[in-house]
Amino acid sequence: MKLVIGHMYPDLLNLYGDIGNIVALKKRCEWRKIEVEVKQISLDYKENFTDIDLLFLGGGSDREQKIVSDDLKNKKGKNLKTAIKDGLTVLAICGGYQLLGEYYQTLAGSKLEGLGVLKAWTIGSNRRMIGNIVIETNVAGKNFKMVGFENHSGKTFLVKMEPLGKVIIGNGNNGEDKTEGCIYKNVYGTYLHGPVLPKNPEFADILIETALKRKYGKVELTPLDDSLEQQTKQSLIKRFVKK
């Protein structure tokens, strides 16, 4: 078995240890003897995403998001949308998440167009939502808690879309409706940095399994010893969630 990870715009969207998510996906495959290839997908990418099993988009600064937004609109958008409709697994964090929505409107009023696969829109605010975050989620029939660190000033609102989870501590999508992230088909958008996958191995494995299933049909992942990851997660939940 082989998993091909597409790291989208690694030179433009690479904030806050996002690379840790790629490291986690890679390692969790290697430990199971699943072959992994990481392809860098940047402005010069010419394929149509049929060569990719799992796509990752991180966050970037405003200027970099503008470059990405233009590239999606003018070049990659159509093919990417087709691949997503066909079931491509995508993890999009923070800026990458915002870019999959309909648009991002800055405080000053300018609008940055998104890919529009998520029925969600983001509006700039003058309050930075920053800090540790704990959510409860129910993905692929599994119920578990996730921990991370959020750092965004954009408030995201979902329009009849399923959130990734419910906020226990922190702000999540907008600091108002207790939702965090968004799920559409096999696309997962979230504000959780940390990075999110090493400390939430259940989520990492769901992504790997979903991506491999699309390619190979039935797939069962060998369980790994995640006691260190769970210990880390539990110690953080204990610290941040006051009873």
Binding site: D11, Y16, G17, D18, K27, D62, F149, N151, P195, L228
Partner: protein, 452 residues
């Protein structure tokens, strides 16, 4: 006559802090500033000339320490925030400690290391003659937002300087160098021109040409995004430095290099270690030359200068050799690891990571450190992780391929030091704490010292 009552209040607080056994690096200033918000400006206005401000992500503390020593050796009485408390309250504290009870500042030179985010306020108060910028890296992101914003803030602050002031910039760091295009002050650049092997780094911060937006390319990378870069599209390139370091020689004892300025070549020797200290030395010496200090005075000071507490400090734990070095961001962490692997000796590590306000609450940056490369080329027997984020660090090590059976986790600094000593036979111990962890580690050594 008591000039400034607030100084007096601050001094009393300083005294009571000493009695209470706390460092008191910012509390006296905090209280004095609340009594008189214009305190810094009033005290500083008494000093004419020789006012140096240093900012940037890495190297501030060592560079300002060197500059302060150079000025002292030149016969100046220097006020300097050497405890590294670089917010407004820390500066006020340094000034209060240098004043007598009558509010007279008994000094004639100022060396301030200043936080990037507070530059605008502090420049207004200090009116420096020289502003030195080391580099910009991602650091404590949850406090400053994004790197571009930090650079913009600093640029905005520099635009308020009088035109006869000097700004000294790192030519090799594209974010820092780009500032020189837009300010009105007299700009000088420094940089390395040597074919020394650079550091293979994750924390490369891609920079785009400010003229045409094309991606910069590199003829040479020294560390992070520092190197000899150019724009292949419009031809913009690294500015030609006024101060250049060539013939660099590095080992675990120290650094030698040649410094070129105008048509002169000076030989520099130092006991500091590692490539990033070449930048610190180059920056400090260039500042000394710009302050018209004689070269002999500068070179003697530099040669005798020893690292400050927690900056590559050598020590012993239960008779075992140890080295302590502060790590506070990916590039600092990577350069420390790079230097350790150059020693070619088996190592045991103690890595202590806190997430207090001063550290930055977000520890995601641990994943931006190329631990994989370090672990693949270095013999490391055990690693103890400690601090509030001991577990996070352990997970990072697991995913970097380190055997988890050889990782020990404890949140207590004291227990961590005992553990690492217990585990160590012949290995060199390297203790790598982040900012507030360094305080916990130092406390341990102070208690040990007191027991003797």
């Amino acid at each position: 006559m008591v000039k400034f009552l607030s100084v007096n209040i601050g001094k009393l607080v300083n005294l009571s802090c000493k009695i209470a056994g706390k460092g008191g690096t910012s509390l006296p200033g905090k209280i004095a500033l609340s009594a008189d918000p214009n305190l810094i400006k009033k005290l500083i206005s008494l000093i004419k000339g020789n006012k140096v401000m240093i900012t940037g992500t890495n190297g501030k503390t060592t560079t300002s320490g060197l500059i302060a020593s150079i000025l002292s050796a030149n016969g100046k009485k220097v006020v300097y925030n050497k405890e590294g408390a670089n917010m407004k309250t820390g500066l006020a504290t340094a000034l209060i400690k240098s004043s007598n009870f009558f509010g007279n500042l008994q000094k004639d030179a100022v060396v301030f290391e200043v936080d990037e985010a507070t530059m605008l306020i502090i420049i207004e108060e200090v009116q420096p003659n020289i502003v030195v910028i080391t580099n910009f890296f991602r650091d404590q992101l949850d406090r400053f937002g994004e790197l571009d914003m930090t650079v913009e803030k600093v640029k905005k602050a520099l635009l308020t300087l009088p035109q006869d002031s000097i700004v000294l910039l790192n030519a090799d760091e594209p974010f820092t160098a780009s500032i020189g295009d837009e300010i009105k002050s007299k700009v000088f650049y420094y940089g390395i021109e040597d074919n020394i092997e650079g550091i293979n780094s994750f924390s490369f911060e891609q920079k785009y040409c400010p003229v045409c937006g094309h991606r910069y390319e590199y003829k040479r990378v020294y560390y992070g995004q520092l190197g000899d870069y150019y724009c292949p599209n419009c031809g913009k390139k690294r500015p030609n430095p006024h101060f250049k370091a060539t013939n660099i020689f590095l080992n675990e004892e120290g650094i030698n290099f040649d410094l070129h300025y105008k048509d002169k070549v000076f030989t520099i020797k130092s006991k500091l270690i590692g490539l990033y200290n070449v930048y610190n030395l180059l920056t400090a010496i260039s500042t000394g030359i710009l302050l018209n200090i004689e070269f002999n005075t500068i070179s003697k000071t530099v040669e005798n200068y020893l690292p400050i507490e927690g900056r590559l400090q050598k020590t012993k734990i239960k008779n075992k050799k140890a080295i302590i070095n502060l790590i506070k961001n990916p590039i600092g962490f990577e350069s420390t690891l790079n230097m350790l692997s150059q020693f070619n000796k088996p190592l045991n590590l103690l890595i202590s990571i806190n997430d207090n306000y001063a550290d930055g609450r977000d520890v995601s940056w641990l994943w931006d450190v190329n631990l994989e490369s370090f672990l693949s080329k270095t013999k490391v027997n055990y690693i103890v992780t400690s601090g509030l984020r001991a577990e996070d660090m352990a997970v990072r090590l697991k995913y970097a391929g380190f055997d988890i059976k050889k990782i020990k986790i404890t949140n207590s600094a004291e227990k961590a030091i005992d553990m690492i000593a217990e585990l160590t036979k012949e290995e060199l111990i390297a203790i790598l704490p982040n900012y507030t962890s360094l305080y916990d580690i130092n406390k341990y050594f102070k208690i040990q010292e007191a027991k003797k």
